[in-house]
């Protein structure tokens, strides 16, 4: 039974104006951290948004513990969301709420945890991402980009999810802050023992947080391997991406 993947995309197709995902097959085993790399506009965001249940695919299945989650609604959908945590690209904090209310949002509004207990758990989660209790009562607009990312991370892990999604976790951060965020991500994922799926085009980040790396191009997975293999493989797509060349099998669309 252990060979059922924690999360699996099966023949997932999605078109917007043109095809974005073209029969995507991908899976992650429980407790592993998968990083999806690829150029801009190759469908990375859509891939995880489909797995989060925010975008409906045109065809295919997304299985969590072997159960298809496409088309489920109402209570079972809410059940699904209880098992996932998401760190959004811009942190996506609610700017009308204080930091601790952001972190405790799920606890207060979905789980019915009393505010006092929710605040204690939020402060504890903030501590895990190295933010002091004094930050709890400030508002997201008063924080730097790196701190907002940390708050977003605290919000993603506060309810101990089984799967965490990271959408471009280091985009827009300086290298030092990026390294700190990467470390926090690894700590949290290992600490919770959860499955992680990240998308990024930051290779340093991919090497740090990934147990496995998959490369997405033109709506399909074109390569998959361990971080160390990134430098050894002769896969032309990976070579072009890692070496950062404009010419190669992936023509620049800029």
């Amino acid at each position: 039974m252990t060979d059922i993947p924690k999360l699996e995309w099966k023949g997932v197709r999605k078109r917007f104006d043109g095809p974005v995902l073209d029969g995507l097959d991908l899976s992650v085993a429980a407790g592993r951290s998968l990083v999806i790399i690829g150029g801009s506009g190759q469908g990375k965001s859509v891939t995880i948004k489909i797995a989060m249940g925010l975008v409906r695919p045109d065809a295919g299945q997304v299985l969590v513990d072997g159960e298809d989650l496409i088309g489920v609604s109402g209570a079972s959908r809410r059940k699904l969301f209880e098992r996932i945590g998401v760190l959004f690209q811009g942190a996506a904090l609610f700017d009308s709420l204080s930091v601790w209310e952001n972190v405790a949002f799920r606890l207060i509004n979905a789980d019915g945890v009393p505010r006092k207990e929710a605040k204690a758990r939020a402060v504890e989660a903030l501590g895990r991402v190295h933010l002091g209790a004094h930050v709890a009562d400030s508002y997201p607009s008063e924080l730097s980009g790196g701190m907002q990312k940390r708050v977003g991370l605290a919000r993603a892990v506060v309810a101990s999810p089984e799967i965490i999604f990271f959408d471009e976790p280091t985009t827009g951060l300086d290298p030092i802050t990026s390294a700190a965020i990467n470390e926090l991500i690894v700590d949290q994922v290992k600490g919770l023992g959860c499955t992680a799926v990240s998308i990024t085009h930051d290779l340093a980040s991919a090497r740090t947080i990934g147990d496995e790396i998959a490369m997405l191009h033109a709506g399909k997975i074109v390569w998959r391997g361990a971080p160390a293999e990134l430098d050894r493989t002769d896969n032309p797509y990976v070579r072009q991406f890692v070496d950062g060349r404009a010419d190669g099998p992936m023509a620049s669309t800029v």
Binding site: G53, L54, A92, F94, D95, F105, N109
Partner: protein, 268 residues
């Protein structure tokens, strides 16, 4: 042959354009209808968010009092002057209190309060929800097991529907007072007689029908703000567009539904 092929599409271009805009309009009407239905269902089914409702009641209701009050007093005063002048043409200046009361309670109170709300509230709702859409806050809310329709849309719909009749009642009183002020201060009416004439003339239904209109207008204002904000696309420009659309469409829908409701009420 080739020329005929090229001419054919060109000939059908206007037809195609009409078809496209018709389909677009139908899609929009359907979209708004489905959105409204989902909103109403969210109002009546748990989970509810009473703190959000309270916040909206204060933001939409309490903070709209000054604009609604100012609009009402000036309109009542101007209406009084105009009716006095018009009435004077056939020696009927003395009906001025009655006409002012009727005009304010049945028509101007609800419509003007709703228009002020369209400018103040519909725009604010569209901008706030549109910005939340643009910064992925709405997606984030869904992944946090909270339905944005119940948390964001339902409290705004309910608050505006409840609060606009109350604001209209305030506008009615202040509007009639505006007419009274002009009559007593400028036109030498006797204050006691003015008030007595107004009170004897006005019927419960004059005020009541206005309040029913106001509830409908309140729903429209919040619905347009939520709909355009929720469906905002394309960053800051999209938010700007959503705000404009919210205000314009609320105003037009207020006038259109005002006509139909008035028809309904005068035949009833």
């Amino acid at each position: 042959m080739a020329a005929a092929d090229a001419a054919l599409p060109a000939m059908f271009k206007p037809v195609r354009a009409i078809g496209r805009s018709t389909l677009g309009a139908l899609r929009m009407v359907g979209g708004v209808g489905m959105f409204a239905l989902r909103g109403v269902i969210s109002v009546f089914s748990p989970p509810w968010f009473p703190i959000q409702l309270l916040r909206q009641l204060v933001a939409i209701g309490f903070f709209s009092l000054p604009v609604v009050g100012l609009t009402a007093i000036f309109t009542g005063a101007a209406l009084g002057l105009n009716i006095y002048t018009g009435g004077g043409r056939f020696n009927a200046e003395q009906v001025m209190p009655q006409i002012v009361a009727l005009g304010i309670t049945r028509e101007l109170g609800p419509v003007l309060a709703a228009l002020m709300l369209a400018g103040r509230v519909s725009a604010a709702i569209a901008a706030e929800i549109g910005a939340m859409r643009a910064t992925e806050q709405i997606d984030a809310m869904r992944t946090l097991s909270t339905d944005p329709f119940r948390y964001l849309v339902a409290p705004r719909l309910l608050a505006a529907t409840l609060v606009l009749p109350l604001l209209t009642l305030v506008a009615d009183i202040i509007g009639v007072a505006g007419g009274w002020l002009v009559a007593v201060r400028i036109l030498d009416f006797n204050s006691t007689i003015y008030v007595r004439n107004t009170m004897n003339f006005i019927q419960g239904w004059d005020v009541g029908s206005g309040l029913i209109k106001a509830a409908v207008f309140g729903f429209i204002v919040a619905l347009m703000g939520c709909y355009h904000g929720y469906n905002a696309k394309g960053g800051a420009r999209g938010v700007g567009r959503a705000t404009t659309h919210a205000v314009v469409s609320s105003a037009i829908l207020i006038f259109a539904s005002d006509y139909f409701l008035t028809t309904l009420f005068t035949h009833a």
